[in-house]
């Protein structure tokens, strides 16, 4: 296994970390309309991710930065090619971050309602668009001989990629529902458990279609295993959520995300962005990667930093392990 293969795996790990963690953050954002019945409940939902959303989002910046360093060509083609969808994602992430921090800083109801609406949409849109983006990466896009994206924005909105978007949206919402079941007390927890079954069923249907489509087009034995893990863990997660085994349900919905991302990266390898115009113009782990020296330095950095990050982020979750309900939210403005 050469270093650029290692880095292919590490980029997959960073994206997996991102989708695992910000996945439930996005889901919680969507649930502010889907699950919460009143504004105190919305606040409970927002506060389940309050202390951690910012740290979770850094997984995206790390995936971006590491792609720049390890696969500059991939970084350049992807972000210049998917220009407008990425712009929309960035706008959402900007508004969303500000919404979390500023929402409770004024008492006016209008002010708070507007930020709550913002949290819903800015969670839903990226949750959908990341799936569209990865659908297109896996399916391949029009890349010319200079590695530049030669298609238009409408080419990105093909049925396969749009289905991919629905899958991530549904999957993250499911993941968020299970997370809320794990982090809350009282009535909201009960409702989250019930909702998990409904959201889970929709997710299962969408995910099965998408994964079967991917498998039949470009799958092999290894990807089939990943598909099986994804589907089985999703179903068991639903059962566990229903049975009130919330810890298990969360671990398994997380495993569904891990297996799905793994499946996509497995079908991709050794490409990183296939060209639909000419296979010779595809970006691969070889022609898109940095020099061995840079990859070596990056490997050391990732090998030391990532486990430490996981330790202190894990510690954060332990510090804020207590379940919360409406009674824990003070009626004050900060």
């Amino acid at each position: 296994m050469e270093l650029h293969d290692v880095w292919f795996v590490l980029i997959a790990v960073l994206w997996t970390g991102y989708f695992f963690l910000e996945g439930f953050d996005f889901g919680v954002g969507v649930l502010t309309k889907l699950l919460a019945r009143n504004r105190p409940e919305k606040r409970v939902l927002i506060n389940t991710i309050g202390p951690v959303w910012d740290g979770n989002e850094v997984w995206l910046l790390s995936a971006g930065g590491a792609t720049f360093a390890a696969f500059p060509e991939w970084y350049a083609t992807l972000f210049s090619g998917f220009y407008l969808p990425l712009l929309l994602i960035l706008v959402c992430l900007i508004v969303r971050g500000v919404a979390f921090e500023y929402r409770a800083k004024r008492p006016e109801e209008n002010w708070q309602r507007n930020w709550e609406t913002a949290i819903f949409w800015t969670s839903l849109i990226p949750a959908f668009l990341w799936g569209v983006a990865f659908g297109n990466i896996v399916r391949g896009v029009k890349i010319d001989q200079d590695f530049n994206y030669a298609g238009g924005v409408l080419d990105l909105l093909n049925p396969y990629a749009l289905l991919g978007g629905l899958v991530t949206l549904a999957l993250f919402t499911f993941h968020g529902t299970v997370f809320v079941g794990l982090k809350t007390v009282g009535e909201i927890r009960e409702r989250a458990r019930k909702l998990a079954l409904r959201v889970g069923s929709v997710t299962a249907l969408l995910a099965l279609t998408f994964l079967a489509w991917t498998q039949s087009d470009r799958g092999d034995g290894a990807t089939l295993v990943a598909v099986a893990v994804a589907v089985v863990s999703l179903v068991v997660a639903m059962v566990a959520a229903r049975a009130g085994r919330e810890g298990w349900a969360f671990a398994l919905s997380g495993l569904t995300i891990v297996a799905t991302v793994a499946m996509l990266f497995l079908t991709l390898f050794p490409n990183v962005m296939p060209s639909t115009l000419n296979p010779d113009w595809s970006l691969t782990v070889t022609n898109a990667s940095s020099s061995p020296y840079t990859l070596k330095i990056m490997t050391w950095c990732a090998a030391v930093a990532t486990p430490i990050v996981m330790l202190y982020q894990g510690w954060t979750y332990w510090v804020f392990r207590k379940r919360i309900g409406t009674q824990h939210i003070a009626e004050t403005v900060h």
Binding site: F68, Y75, L87, G97, V98, I324
Partner: protein, 502 residues
Amino acid sequence: MDLALAPETLARWQFGITTVYHFLFVPLTISLAALTAGLQTAWVRTEKEKYLQATKFWGKLFLINIAMGVVTGIVQEFQFGMNWSDYSRFVGDVFGAPLAFEALIAFFFESTFIGLWIFGWDKLPKKIHLACIWMVSIGTILSAYFILAANSWMQHPVGYRINEAKGRAELTDFWLVLTQNTALAQVFHTLTAAFLTGGAFMVGIAAFHLVRKKHVPVMKTSLRLGLVTVVVGGLLTAVSGDVLGKIMYQQQPMKMAAAEALWDGEKPAPFSVFAIGDVDKGHNEVAIEIPGLLSFLAKDDFTSYVPGINDVNKAEQEKYGPGDYRPNIPVAYWGFRWMIGFGMTSFAIGLAGLWLTRKKFLLPQHLRVGEDEVPHLVLLPKKALGPTLTKWYWRIAILTLGFPLIASSWGWIFTEMGRQPWVVYGVLQTRHAVSPGVSQAEVITSMVVFTTLYAILAVVEVKLLVKYVKAGPPELTEADLNPPTKIGGDTRDADKPMAFSY
């Protein structure tokens, strides 16, 4: 194509707008993190309530500010790929590594521990909670270090070779990239300027309250802390600026010649106080100069030869081929002056304030004041300033909170525009760095979207800051004064509301 709408021009405007905007929040974040941490340390050590009140007050303003810094920073991570894909392809092997280090080491640190600090008041024992804000502070400084190392490589590329076959720069010595003198000087200069900025911010807001005789004990402490920070930060900014300037005379003589509108080399070279030049003809029409000073700034003596714009342009033409290697001279010239002018004005106001508000030194007994009284402004050893002068000093002190922000914005505009037409000095020109596949319409769309969004958020942010500045430090509660003794907080009352919630 109309030059004003060339892809390069648009992409540069967008980078300028998003980056200068982002950098309004960066120096405040760096300095306020450390200053808040310092105040909280004073609370933990002395248990004086005014320190906790100050921690909460400045901590709140810090949080309002860092929220904007974080979200505008996301754009920075991705816009190299969006608008500058040829740049990314060419330099990614070198430039990507410090960016990835920044994310993996600094961003995770900052973002994780800030969550712990915000929500941790009733979840963490005092000292662990204090450690969290220090972690945030360390994160901000590490972040500055890595990104400035990356920028320094654009100013003065080292530790790389050009791979002709792949058409890109490749890293050969990462340690050199991290430790070259350009990087160290830029880090030194940026961090000291950040503390000047945060200090001035504190001075301005403390003055606002003191002149109204409100929240005196907390604001008096804040004023003194701010003044000391401004003076130390300002002095070190000047020293580091001088060091960086001398390095730039070696590495980018064009930038410094442009900063002085020095068209033709002179020995000894004068420092320009004021100039109106004619860029097409390559000379100044009006110039007020201090003889010999530029030689000193560049080379540490009053007689050395300093090359001019026309000389460097000719030398670069011989080295790199035909072309115009001059940056925008008026922007470089005035940017340099606004940077120094605004920065040093703030320093002077701070120095004056430190003397005027001294507590005991050369201060007769009757002019000394108690804990909860506004200090007299005492210029001469025995006599306080009159009411008019006192009022004016406080007014100017309030205004100074904006000066270093103006200074650092112009500092970046100067250093980045002064490097043009190069994006990586001597290696890659800016016009070869843009994304060839991105259409004009796309760049215009994103520029309009970001500019509008940033303008709206600026209004929201400033209004929020004003609200919390006016509100002053919060009253302390029982919970504030009795922090938990174990991690996770007290478990006796399961339904107790959280100390902080979104």
